[in-house]
C-alpha cells in the first residue's frame, strides 16, 4: 500500500509527497494539525491541509526570514516573532549572540507542543532563556506595544484561516508603532506565480508601503512551497537592506548556513520581471 500526502497548490495543480507514517492528526481550537514522516523530505508539518515545513528544506525559509534583517542591523537586540510555532525562526535568531530578547507570539499552543515532541529539528531553541513564548493572538499582542522592538518577524500561515489578521492594514500599522525608529519588519509574503497567492501578496505589499518609507521584496527558492518560488517582505523605517548590508559583521559571527550568504543577500532583492510586474500593479489599497 502506498500513502501520499497531496496539497492543492491551485484548483488545478497538485503537489504530492510519499508518506511513510502519519505521526499526528489533531484538531486544535484553531486548526487541523498533521505531522507526517516522508522518505524524501523527513518530517512534515501540515496545518489545515497546507504544508508548512519539511525537515529537508525548512532551513531555506528560516535562514532567509532571519539572516537578512540581522545582517542589515547588527544592533538588533529585542525581537518580536509572530507565528512560528514550529520554532525554526527562533532557532535561527538564537544563533546570534547579539540578540538579547525574543518574544514569540503563537496563537496555537498545540502547534508548539507537537513540534517540540515530533520536530525537534526546528523546535530545539524554544527553551533558550532569551525566548519568551506567549500563546495569544498576534494582532492583539502587537496592539499593546509601542517603540519596543528592533525587529518584528511575521512568520505566519497564509492569509486565510487563523493567520488572516496578520495580513491586514491594522496589523501593519500596529507593527509600525511597536517598532523603534530603527525598526525592521520582515514577513512571509506569499508568491506571485499563482493568481490566488499573487492577490494576497499584492494586497499585503500595498498595505505595508503605506506605513514604511522603505518597503522591498526579496525571494528564495523553496522546493515544497507552491511554485517553488517564495517571497519575503522587508520593511524598515531607516535601513536599506542592500545599501546597509553589513557583510563583515555577519561573517564575523561565523555561522554555518545552507542557503543564505552575503552574495545571496544582495542578490535576493534582484527580482525577476514576473514579480516586478506584479509589484508595479500594486496601488495603495486597503
Amino acid at each position: 500500500m502506498e500513502l501520499w500526502f497531496t496539497e492543492n497548490h491551485t484548483e488545478n495543480v497538485r503537489f504530492s509527497i510519499k508518506i511513510k507514517r502519519h505521526l499526528v492528526s489533531e484538531q486544535s481550537e484553531f486548526q487541523k494539525i498533521d505531522i507526517l514522516e516522508s522518505e524524501e523530505f523527513g518530517r512534515i508539518l501540515v496545518l489545515d491541509g497546507y504544508l508548512m515545513l519539511t525537515e529537508k528544506d525548512e532551513y531555506i525559509y528560516h535562514e532567509m526570514i532571519t539572516h537578512v534583517p540581522m545582517s542589515v542591523n547588527p544592533a538588533i537586540k529585542k525581537i518580536l516573532v509572530i507565528g512560528a510555532g514550529d520554532g525554526g525562526t527562533v532557532r535561527e535568531l538564537c544563533r546570534f549572540k547579539s540578540v538579547e530578547h525574543i518574544d514569540m507570539v503563537e496563537i496555537d499552543r498545540r502547534v508548539v507542543e507537537l513540534c517540540r515532541e515530533f520536530i525537534p529539528k526546528t523546535a530545539c531553541s524554544l527553551d533558550d532563556p532569551r525566548v519568551h513564548i506567549y500563546y495569544e493572538d498576534g494582532l492583539k499582542f502587537v496592539r499593546g506595544a509601542e517603540n519596543a522592538y528592533d525587529l518584528i518577524i511575521v512568520d505566519s500561515t497564509d492569509p486565510f484561516g487563523p493567520g488572516e489578521g496578520l495580513f491586514t492594514r491594522e496589523f501593519y500599522g500596529n507593527c509600525y508603532k511597536a517598532l523603534t525608529d530603527e525598526g525592521i519588519l520582515v514577513n512571509q509574503h506569499e508568491s506571485t506565480f499563482y493568481k490566488e497567492y499573487a492577490q494576497a501578496m499584492k494586497r499585503a505589499h500595498a498595505r505595508i508601503k503605506t506605513f514604511f518609507p522603505i518597503a522591498l521584496v526579496y525571494q528564495a527558492h523553496i522546493p515544497t512551497y507552491p511554485s517553488g518560488h517564495w517571497l519575503f517582505g522587508f520593511a524598515s523605517k531607516k535601513f536599506h537592506p542592500v545599501e546597509d548590508q553589513n557583510a563583515e559583521w555577519w561573517l564575523a559571527q561565523n555561522l554555518k548556513t545552507g542557503y543564505y550568504n552575503r552574495f545571496v543577500h544582495s542578490g535576493c532583492f534582484a527580482l525577476p520581471n514576473n514579480v516586478r510586474d506584479v509589484l508595479r500593479e500594486t496601488k495603495p489599497a486597503t
Binding site: 493572538d137 494582532l139 491586514t168 492594514r169 491594522e170 508603532k177
Partner: protein, 481 residues
Amino acid sequence: MKLDQSRAPLYEAMTEHRQNRVVPFDVPGHKGGRGNKKLTDFLGEQCLKNDVNSMKPLDNLCHPVSVIKQAQELCADAFGAKNAFFIVNGATGAVQAMVMSACKAGDKIILPRNVHRSAINALVVCGAVPVYVDPGVNSELGIPLGMSAEDVSRAIEENPDAKAVLINNPTYYGICSDVKTIVKTAHEHGMLALCDEAHGTHFYFGENLPVSGMAAGADMAAVSVHKTGGSLTQSAVLLMGEGVNADYVRQVINLTQTTSASYLLMVSLDLARQNLAQNGAEFYEKTARFADYARREINAIGGYYAFGEELCNGRDVFAFDKTKLSIHTRAIGLAGIEVYDILRDEYGIQIEFGDIGNILAIITGGDRALEIERLVSALYEIKRLYGRNPAGLYDHEYIDPIVELPPQKAFYAEQETLPIDKTAGRVCSEFVMCYPPGIPILAPGERITKDILDYIKFAKEKGCNVTGCRDMRVEYLQVVK
C-alpha cells in the same frame, strides 16, 4: 416551551416536496433554476430548487392551515407568545401590522419620537395620530434613550382615549425602557402595549438579558429574527399575547403583505426558531462574551467610549442590551459616520451604522475571536492615524420635534417645494432621516427649525446617507402650503 422544538414542520415539508420530484407547472418560472443559469450558479442549485410557490402540501402564508400554521405555533411556543405570524416584509411589516391592528384613522397612539420610520409610516397609511413621549437624552453621548415609566404614565393620563403604547425594546443603541411597568399602566387604562423588538430577538433566548415584550406581558411584538436570530434578511415574526384577536391581525397583515411569500424566507424562520429554541442560550452567551471583551479592549484604547450597563439609571435607561457594541467616537475628534467609513474603506470592516457621535457593531455568536481583534486593532489605528481635536463637532443626536399636524394629514396636504435653507419655520410634509439608523430627523407634520437644518447640513457634510425626501439630494424639501 411545551411543544417539541426539535421539529421544523415547514423545513420537513419542503424537504419531502423536493424528494418527491414534483413536476413544476406553476410559478416561479425559473423552474428550479434551469431557466436562469447564471442566477443558479451564483446562489446555488439547492437554493433555487427550494424557491417554490405555495401549494397544498406547503400551505399558504395568507391562510395558514397546515405546515406554516404548525411552524408558527412552534414559533409562538418558543417565544412565549399565544400566537405568531411569519412576516416576509421585515420588522417593518410587523410594526405596521401592529399599529394598524391597534389603531384606526384618528385614533391616538403613544410612542417615543425615536421610533424607526416604519412606525411613523404606519401612521401615514392608517391615519392614527401620534402622541410623542420625549425619550430621555444622554447629553454626553448625544443619543436618545428610552421612555421613563413616569413620562408614559403621564401621557396615558393626559390621553385616556389613546388606543395603544409603542415601546422600543431595545433601541438601536441597546437601551431599554421599563417595559413591565409601562405594559401594566397601559393595561390598567385599557390600552394595548406594543413592542418594536426589531433589535430584540435575543431577549427571548439569551440569559441575563433585558426582559422580552412577551415576558413583560405586551400584547404584540414585532421581532426582526433576521437581525440577530439567524434567519434570512427581510424575515421577521409578529408575536401576539392573550388579549389579541389573531384572526383580525391576520386580516390586517393581508391588507399589505405579498400573496407570494418567499419560502426561502419562511423556512429560514422555521430553522432559526428551531436552532434558537435548542441552542439560543449558548449562542447568546457567546455573543455577550465577545461584546464584553470588545468593550473592555476598546475602552482601554482611550478616547472611545463603548458604553454598557453602567448607563442604567432605573428611568430612561431601565436596562441595557449588553450584546450591542455601541461606541461613542466624538472624543477622538471623529464623527461616528467618519469612523464607519474609514473602517470600511481603509480596513475592510463593515459595521452596522455610524451616526454623528456613535458607531454600532453587531456582534453575534457567529463571529470569530480573530475578527473581534481586527475590529479593536483597527479602532486603535484609526485613533492613532486620524484622531484629532473634537472641537467643532456637532454634539447631539436628538432634537425635540414640534408636531403641528398628524403624519397622514401632512403627507397628503397641499404642499410646495422649497430650497432647504428657505424652509425654517415651515411644516414639513415628508421624512428626513439618516439611514441607518432610520430614526426620522423630521417626520411629516413637524415644524422645521434652524437647529434641525443645521443638523441635516452637518450630517450631509460628514457623509451620512440622508434619505426619505422626494429630492434624493436633499437640496429641496416638501413643505405644507
